[in-house]
Symmetry: C2
């Protein structure tokens, strides 16, 4: 039943239109004409309504047929709330991920009924500073409390589908479809678990639409099922099913797949010597028995107001990930859980999901009330999402075992989540947090403590890089849409630049604009255009260097997942590959190329070179695909100042599937050319296309060009 | 009811006397007069009965009063078995830790009844090599399948209390006593959970015997309870309780304590730099809010036939641990779970227990049947032992995350154990295995790969040393009790020496006799007496060096637990501090001194010195106690060739509780004295007694004695 909702601030008379699903703060802001939240400092207006109590009101005609029952149904309301029917509280609830279904038949009268939802004040731990710490004893996503790329705007309200339903007796409810898969993949079994008082019919269709089964058995065998593969490894085979009764119909899709996290033999060889610690935990994904190098990005809530997210929000994000040759999203815990349609899209596009629970960078204590709500919410989350073949890893949350969070393996919240995942979805791996031992987070800058990404990662030895970032600014045109013209250039620390995370965001004042790093390479920057150009140059090369180096470290390393993919609002600078809402930055295209299953790659030492320097690079052919490579040739050249110098032809006879090949080291003496600030290394595979690197060139009039020849080793 | 049991080998007519509780193989061997299992190669005779099926038989008078019911009751039978009453199988069971109670009233007849127990063949995974690997899909302790200090002798049978009971209606059963403790320790609450059809009375007594409560409330408050402390930190306060009915009485003891594993701030500072991994898991025990340096030993099953263990077996072991200033046993998983009385003694003597589940050095796979039995057994283990205040850590098992085991954090068995412990005993810490990241196991030799224990441990940086060992031989007299006279000297690789783990036991041929290491220091050894003396010298100094170094590394390091404490049979050489059954080696006394709460200590660089060398040592005062030290003085001297040289008086004004104090570095030029092979460093505290080190001295006629003075820095 379509309901027309109005919002109300507690203590105020006025009603305003409310969108359901949505968020009440956004509705109120629209009603008050606060303007675009993305513009200038508009987001700060939301602080004044942060501690409000809100109401939703609607009415409906309760007249029903004699064989009908009436239900209040919601997929989730954020965060603590009452359901009030005709003036009576019929439900009090805490937690935004628990679906609630209430049979209200005996309370509903013929004709007009009133329904209200009271949304309590946001949870904030008493005594905590005004930061994410306030969210350390609730299951609300902490990101709204403020992050280095998210303004402090805390949403609440009816964020997910909510309605009044008139149901016949044969209504289908509590439907949960799971499956098992034979050890040798020769047989799948679907289990239809649901409640229905009446005759029903189940139909199952193969990925090509052919009918596989029709009948009333709740256990359906599928012989030799077509397996679901992630992007780049095969088809995203999905079996459709529907359950129908005379009055109702439910449908969905299931992908058969098996997922494990396994060790490589090289991991068991560590640690060396005595006293001896444990070997690192496994990070290699085994999908249907095949090792997969996990490459992708950390996705965050795509909207400040998650209630407004729908298929149009998620589709471009998932589609762009597939197009960028990614196969995994780490769904970062601070952002909470996305709507079902996000996971349906990931199933369909082959993007595996590492799904975290809504814990991030806090010490969630052993508080009985918190643990009770966490258990309730986590059980609902797992039972709902385990049906999606794309969900391949459960994770307790973000960076919980580090000094800024201070949780440990003994924290009850994490032991509880491990228990719930084991009970509800034992065959999907569970990680307590990220990073674990052997896994690396950071750095988040092109250079840090005197090391560029090249030195930092070439010398790293990790089983998985699950966060790493290089920031950039969006385009000049984009900046103009939210930074007032008089603040555009030069960027100042106390301005909209700071509100939008250009300054004082992480670690030190210059994040994320990174003027210091940019001017360190390029000298004083004199225009916004140059600033944007340099910033994106560094981001492109930085991300290329890290993603490709992580791939080169396979099989010791099994994952490269950058921080971050997207952003929920317009930032002035960010590690993201996409600007809000889903606008690719140049680095998106650079990463897309670096993540092709087969790509020639160069291990570089540094970014900046003077004329006369020996430019050196180690050649690689990276292969994450399931096919071996035969008879390829890689032509290596350097383009500088309009000249193209052919360096080498690397002949490759054979490179096994999912295996990299290490090649020659080239050394090239950079010539003296004036008026040039960049030179390009180009690797062109005969079969697999081009990969290139734009590197910084500094002309020094007096630099001697050494008398050593070009070496092809 | 006392039952007289007989044993029978399947397929054989003959019956033999059987001891219950006990182990059937031991009974059979006694019947066959196989002789002392500890002597020579007698243990090998047991191989011929390894795959037998066994029966126990008894009979009893089933005549009962009309208000009585009859029960078969066992605390545990090893491993898979049938209970057969009057020829009918009334129970089939797998698992030795699940108590079984069967109401047999309706099957028992007046007069004579026969009762048999069929013990199935030992579980062995098909296709596994003849080693512990055969036990990788069962819950039987793997140690009996053979270890580097345990012969291959696999026990089974009625290993724990088993009887027929005639019960009145008011019999007390399923009694489980747990407690809660207020945050500020101001109040304890005992919860009596039991079944009883009839009037009952509960009485609770304070540690001094005073009656605290009497009545029928199952929830009993104790105001300001006297807390239980581990050895060295306070009293082992235990509250006694009893539940009585007209016909029955159950009693026990409860110690109120809170235990946590916490981080030190120094741990949060790691890891440094980017990419950044997690901080190590916590290893600092917090007992009743007080940090405790855990010092103790790895205890193993004290008998090859665990069914024969009783209070007389355990008492000397626990008492000696207390006397050696230990406060913790790591109850090693490979040995399985000990009988209740062991834990009662640990409660009483203040020895904390790190209790492992019976998994060790195997890859226990995700096999549904195995997991089902593991769950059943683990739930019983935890529900039984959580009542003991001494049990402060649960652990999945031994060395499971290393290359020789190959389990990971994803292994279902370990996720299941974490879940069970969280459900049954959430406030007791759970570790998946030992070692975890930051914790060290090994080495097990005085020197390895060119490093002595001094260099190995002085340069180590671990949060806990949970296994480390130095082997020694037992005394000559002791060796003579089990090594035939003609094999005594020289020890040969193919002889009783090998059967008793003198050779080919670990890593290389020379373990655990370590002739190579001994002769490397002392030259060719010409008598058994010398071999024993040198071996024990190295063990004493090796253990002193490691235990004291681990203590010096506090607070970064929080545990020092050597491998191992005891042994279940007479070994020719072993890392143990006690010879079977509980006979202290010299190293026991050395360790006892090193583990005093307050002890002066010297950090040494190496074991062996030539005349003319500068002997150097860094002085420390180690304090694990809860009291600060004021106005102490430590006199340092060197004794060599009958001369005593006073080196230094170290004046100590103040040293805080549970804190070490670092002192001077002494440097002393060793004189030229002939006919001496040892010199002694003596540290004598005015208040806390003596600590001394016996070091190896080599006279070199031509060694120049350098002209540098003794330095007191």
């Amino acid at each position: 039943m379509d309901l027309v909702w109005f919002g109300q601030k507690e203590g105020a008379e006025e009603l305003f239109p409310a969108t359901v699903p949505g968020n009440i703060q956004k509705d109120y802001a629209a009603f008050k004409s606060w303007g675009d939240i993305h513009y200038a400092d508009n987001c700060e207006k939301y602080l004044e309504i942060e501690d409000e109590v809100w109401f939703y009101h609607t009415s409906f005609d309760g007249t029903r047929a004699t064989d009908e029952r009436v239900f209040f149904v919601t997929k989730g309301i954020d965060y603590e709330y009452d359901i009030i029917l005709n003036g009576c509280v019929i439900c009090h609830h805490e937690g935004l991920y628990t679906p609630v279904e209430i049979d209200i038949t005996d309370r509903v009268k013929d004709g007009t009924n009133t329904l209200s939802v009271k949304i309590y004040r946001h949870p904030k731990r008493e005594g905590a500073p005004v930061s994410r710490t306030q969210a350390d004893n609730c299951v609300k996503p902490p990101v709204g409390y403020g992050w280095d790329w998210h303004p402090r705007v805390i949403p609440s309200g009816i964020w997910n589908d909510t309605s009044i339903e008139f149901r016949k007796a044969d209504y289908i409810t509590r439907l949960n479809v799971t499956y098992s898969l034979a050890e040798d993949f020769s047989r799948g079994e679907l289990f239809f678990d649901f409640t229905c008082n009446g005759a029903y019919n189940i139909r199952v269709f193969a990925p090509d639409g052919a009918l596989v089964y029709e009948g009333a058995e709740r256990r359906v065998s599928v012989e030799n099922p077509l397996l679901w593969w992630c992007n780049g490894q095969g088809k995203q085979n999905l079996y459709s099913w529907e359950v129908t009764t005379a009055s109702d119909r439910k449908q969905g899709k299931t992908g058969f797949r098996r997922v494990e996290l396994v060790m490589e033999s090289i991991h068991w060889a560590e640690p060396h010597g005595f006293p001896k610690s444990r070997s690192n935990p496994p990070t290699t994904l085994l999908l249907n028995g095949r090792k997969i190098f996990a490459k992708g990005s950390n996705i965050v809530s795509p909207e400040i107001f998650p209630g407004t997210s729908d298929v149009d929000t998620y589709l471009p994000l998932v589609r762009l990930a597939k197009e960028a040759n990614m196969n995994i999203f780490r769904m970062w815990g601070g952002s909470g859980i996305q709507k079902d349609v996000f996971f349906e899209l990931c199933d369909e596009y082959g993007i595996m999901v590492w799904q975290e629970f809504p814990l991030a960078c806090n010490d969630y204590k052993n508080d009985p009330h918190y643990l009770e709500i966490l258990e309730q919410e986590a059980v609902c989350i797992v039972r709902n999402l385990r049906q999606h073949c794309s969900v391949v890893i459960w994770c307790g949350g973000n960076e919980l075992f580090n000094g800024w969070s201070k949780m440990t393996d003994q924290s009850h919240a994490l032991r509880l989540l491990n228990k719930i995942c084991y009970e509800q979805d034992p065959d999907t791996p569970f990680l307590s947090t990220s990073p674990l031992a052997g896994m690396g987070h950071g750095c988040y800058l092109f250079s840090f403590n005197g090391q560029e990404v090249y030195q930092m990662f070439n010398n790293s030895h990790y089983t998985a890089y699950t966060e790493f970032g290089v920031p950039s600014l969006p385009s000049v045109d984009y900046l103009k849409t939210f930074i007032p013209a008089d603040q555009l250039f030069p960027p100042r620390q106390e301005s909209t630049w700071k509100t939008h995370h250009g300054f004082d965001s992480w670690c030190y004042w210059d994040t994320w604009v990174c003027l210091d790093i940019i001017e360190g390479y390029f000298g004083k920057v004199s225009s916004l255009e140059d600033l944007v150009r340099y910033s994106n140059w560094l981001q492109c090369e930085g991300y290329k260097a890290i993603f490709e180096e992580a791939r080169r470290q396979k099989p010791y390393c099994a994952m490269a997942i950058n921080w971050c993919y997207n952003e929920p609002w317009k930032t002035a600078a960010n590690n993201s590959l996409l600007c809000y809402p889903a606008l690719p930055k140049p680095a998106y295209y650079a990463v897309k190329n670096s993540l092709k299953n087969v790509v020639p790659s160069a291990r570089l030492n540094r970014f900046s070179y003077k004329s006369g320097d020996v430019f050196s690079a180690e050649l690689w052919l990276l292969n994450d695909g399931d096919e071996c490579i035969e008879q390829d040739e890689i032509r290596v050249s350097v383009e500088i100042g309009g000249n193209i110098v052919e360096i080498l032809n690397w002949q490759i006879d054979f490179c096994a599937e999912n295996t990299n090949k290490r090649g020659h080291i080239i050394q090239y003496i950079l010539p003296r050319i004036q008026g040039v600030e960049c030179f390009r290394l180009v690797l062109e595979s005969k079969k697999y296309g081009v990969n290139s690197y734009d590197l910084h060139y500094v002309y020094k009039a007096n630099a001697p060009v050494p008398k050593i020849p070009v070496l092809n080793m």
